[in-house]
Amino acid sequence: MSRHLIALVAVAAVAWAAGSAARAQAPGATLTVLAQDGRRAMPVTAVGGRDYVALDDVATTFGVDVRDDRLAGGVSVTAGGTTILLTESQAVVSVGGRLVSLPAPPVRQGGRWLVPVDFLVRALGPALGTRYDYRRPTRLLVAGDLSVPRVVARLTASDAGATVTFDISPAATARVTPENGRLVVAVAQADALDATLPAIPAQGFVQGLSLADTPGTLQIATGPRYASYRASTSQPDAGSTRLTVELRGAAPPTAAPAPGTPEPAPAPAPTPPPAPDAGLPPASLLGGDEPGIRTIVIDPGHGGDETGTTGPGGTLEKNVTLAVARRLRTLIESRLGLNVYLTREDDRTLSLDDRTAFANSHRADVFLSIHANAAVRAGMQGAEVYYLSVDRATAEADRMAAAGGTTLPALGGGTRTIDLILWETAQTRYLEQSAALAATVEQALASRVTMSPRAVQQAPFRVLVGATMPAVLVEIGYLSNPDEEQQLASGPYQDRVAQALFDAVSRYRATVERGTPQE
């Protein structure tokens, strides 16, 4: 009896150890295959920082035949009458006699063959005659012509209510329907959704945000303080739709709509959530055309193939800038209740003009581009703030462009005059405000981090050129300085920088809303 018990304990221990070893290698990561016949999960293993899948899992998931070819030191996969030949440590595979390259060679691990996930798109798909689309950030493999829009949700909450925004791309119609204890968000003509959903902080309006059972739908589980909602859609750019769902509490000071009664979605622009603090009457924020800061676009510098500069210890600029941008967004959203958008949510390549265009199309009131610096000398250290330098020719070109509007025919007859702004001269009109913003950012940074001897400078930086709002580029420290590199890579320093930039945004907003130096 006791012998059996010992054996059982031993087996359990081995199983636990094996399980934790597997977790250590790839922390429970799975890849989701979406096809007409449903959704299947496959385990993913990290090898050299890259996602791999096991060929035996491929065999069961896709119903293909995998055979070891020991003589040739390889393996063959037969799919839909086509044979794919793979050889260990060769990044080129043969698909029915045609050579296809993989980003890395297959590897053999513990008697199993592992292949980079790109194998599914580049080799297996062609063999099966199916086109696969792989969404790397969410590890989603979409088969055939399924429509799977990308949805990024965000939640901001205050005492008065909560706002959930859904950025849906490509653009699609989205509808909100209240059901028992939840609001169901349906994206039209979607077979499924590729969704990134935020963690839900404790508040009484939203209890959960998840994919619903019906394909192409999400659900907002409402909390005890929820009474009514209001939904509106807008189109921040040609390729996406933004659905804003505002959830409000019961018993507001004035008459409120009956609980659960949806209001028609009227205005095309989403109403910003009320600001919880800052000592200003909420009306000054909700009022449409009054000067104010409602939307901030943060641009985490570099990304994807474009890594930016690299510290002597290997820290990549693109990772530091994204980490600080995320921290800053959390601070601004939670404490000021403003709309905050990042030009990139993950590690992706993005052109400089696309970053600026993103800020323009989101009608940002402030544009902050975050970077980490490098100099030819390792001793150089400290943060710097830049705003655009404009040469005489550009300033002159802008004056010329501003002098005459362009007349266009208007819908329903007549004409209207529009003010055409040239990309190359767009920032020229905001230089004074950008200089004021740069000074505010410099002051806020100086109270929390070391500043460089050239704390505020002007430079012809491309990312600032086309911005139609106050815009600065912040260098948060020198990655080329070994001490500063260590700090830049650390959470506490990133928090300090984010806190300083938050202070700057907060002060700048107060100045703008007092109406002192603007316009």
Binding site: G301, H302, E306, T307, G308, T309, T310, E317, S351, L352, D353, H371, A372, N373, A374, A375, V376, R377, G379, M380, E384, Y386, D391, E424, S452, P453, R454, Q457, A459, P460, F461, R462, V463, V465, L473, E475, Y478, L479, S480
Partner: protein, 200 residues
Amino acid sequence: MTTRRLLTFVAIAVAATALGWALMAGLSRVLTTTVPDELPPEGQTAAAPPAPGDPSAVPRIKATLFFGSGDGHQLVGVEHEVPLGDSVVAQARAILEAQLATAPPDGLARTIPEGTALRGVYASERGEVFIDLDGAIRAAHPGGSMNELVTVYTLVDAVTVNLPTVTDVQILIDGREVDTLAGHVDLRRPLQKNEELIAR
């Protein structure tokens, strides 16, 4: 009375001649200063260094080259002898070749990656100078705004400080206009001399 008339006539004639001379001289001067603008766009042939076997025979002039200061955020000008060029383009090319090939003096740092090659130097009809660099500079560049600023303005200032008639310099890579060198400085239009970066 007639003497007076004669004198007036002579005075007018002298004034007219003087005016004519001034006009002609002025015009020829203007034409002389625009000569660089009329150079053929192929700068390389015009700038071919004379007689490589006999450097002593080549007349040389002093030019200011730029290197990174001890703390890395300024440019320090250093005098250096370069071959005399027979046109603005040829001279710009000689200066830039010296800038790329010269090792920094003690205490100063290189601001352009070692091994960066110059593909060509051209001038437009409007007098803008184009510096065409080999694409290898992109891979070799360590990135960072400050690094990029000192690289770009070493090139721009080496031309504009030494050749005061040139005010606009555009950097091309592999013969093409590019957005930036390393993600910051706008290279899609000509840049002007940056004196702020030069240490005093």
